[in-house]
Symmetry: C2
Subunit: 231 residues, 2 copies
Amino acid sequence: MNDKKHICNCFRCDLKDVVFAFLDEEAIEELCTHREEQVYRKGEVINHEGEKINSFKYLNSGLVKLYRRTPSGDEQIITITRPFEFVSNMSIFSEDRYQYSVSALEDSGVCVIQLDYIKELFMKNGGFAMGLLSKISTINDKIIRQTLDIRQKNLVGRVAFVLLYFTNEIYNSRVFDLPVSRKEIADYIGMSTANVIRTLSDFRKEDIIRVFGKTIEIVDIIKLEIIAKRG
Amino acid sequence: MNDKKHICNCFRCDLKDVVFAFLDEEAIEELCTHREEQVYRKGEVINHEGEKINSFKYLNSGLVKLYRRTPSGDEQIITITRPFEFVSNMSIFSEDRYQYSVSALEDSGVCVIQLDYIKELFMKNGGFAMGLLSKISTINDKIIRQTLDIRQKNLVGRVAFVLLYFTNEIYNSRVFDLPVSRKEIADYIGMSTANVIRTLSDFRKEDIIRVFGKTIEIVDIIKLEIIAKRG
DNA sequence: CGCGGCTTTGATGTTCATCAAGTAAAGTGG
DNA sequence: CCACTTTACTTGATGAACATCAAAGCCGCG
């Protein structure tokens, strides 16, 4: 058995199929030498707004939030995503500092590759370049669409949207533990904390959800979808 | 004098410096054979949501709006931009249909290149690929930032923001003709038409702007900036 | 000159943020 | 492990911000 292959676990990385599909075995071996895995605990900051960018990062396990601080000082959450839906910063070649911060909502594994090496690969390998552009575009597009969707809903519609987002996109389960505080939900959908809580209470009273602290159970998903759509 | 050069005016295209910088003379000559210019009159639709994408487009003169239709049927304007700030759709390699519509707010010139040819170039030429990714990222990033900025302001702040956007980013002049209706401003910043008008009237009464139909003159830009920031 | 669309303004009601006060939960230091 | 502190959550009351409705004015165009 080849020792090198054993050490390099890029071979079974899911991102391989997406962005690195155009790399042959040898190229992946080489990639491994420019790469390291890093673990972030829940709450830890992965990228900090304004910091210099010198590595290409992607999430391979866990959950993160992408956010910025507004001029008035409070936090504005741009998106919350699962692995591979976050691949480094978006403006990887156009900015040299992070525009937004990223932090871990759950313990998260991040793969860190030297940025210069990615650039080199990008220049040399057209397939890799296309895979990367495609991935980044998809992610950007999702963020834009999500932001537009949220903007166009009212309060209850937004809360319904978030609940559906967690249940369908993040956890694939009707029962889940909220990875964020009520305040963070508020920062995400752009409303006050008090009203997020109030709306959750209303949903509970109408038997649409059940709430046990951070644990949420979606009881009537149909009704929730109607509210999200109409909102 | 070289005839070919005379026919192909890509040599004096501003985009050349941004995305096509890595192409040599010969490559640009070839690009020209895959390219045509198209003129759209004010109000005409350039890309239509849902339509198949088979060309790469960029704006080289005029003004356009990028928008979508919400489930409830009304228009949501994503951004309004000048040349080169709009380069085809964002998800050029990840989607095969337009996610959003684009239409001309002023008579506009658009350069249309066969998408397959762009893909080919992208694969072959790393520098070109990097230039393109960089450009697309910058545009995406600007849209995201703008959307977040707007979301976080109140009504008067948003109107002030739009006025400043037109005066600083679009026209570079204190006096300009609004290229959009009051309703379109409302669709852009996400509020009702009546309140956009009301706010404009308030600004007029406070001598911050002067209004003659579609013509706007910014009188007190300092005050407007304060309102936009605080909002 | 009369019709239809865009604009303007006022009146009204809804939606939502803010404030306040209380409760539960989660850290923290002895 | 407990008392203490702090932070998150919850609910009600109030007022501000904003949408909606309605009516009237304006303007271009047939």
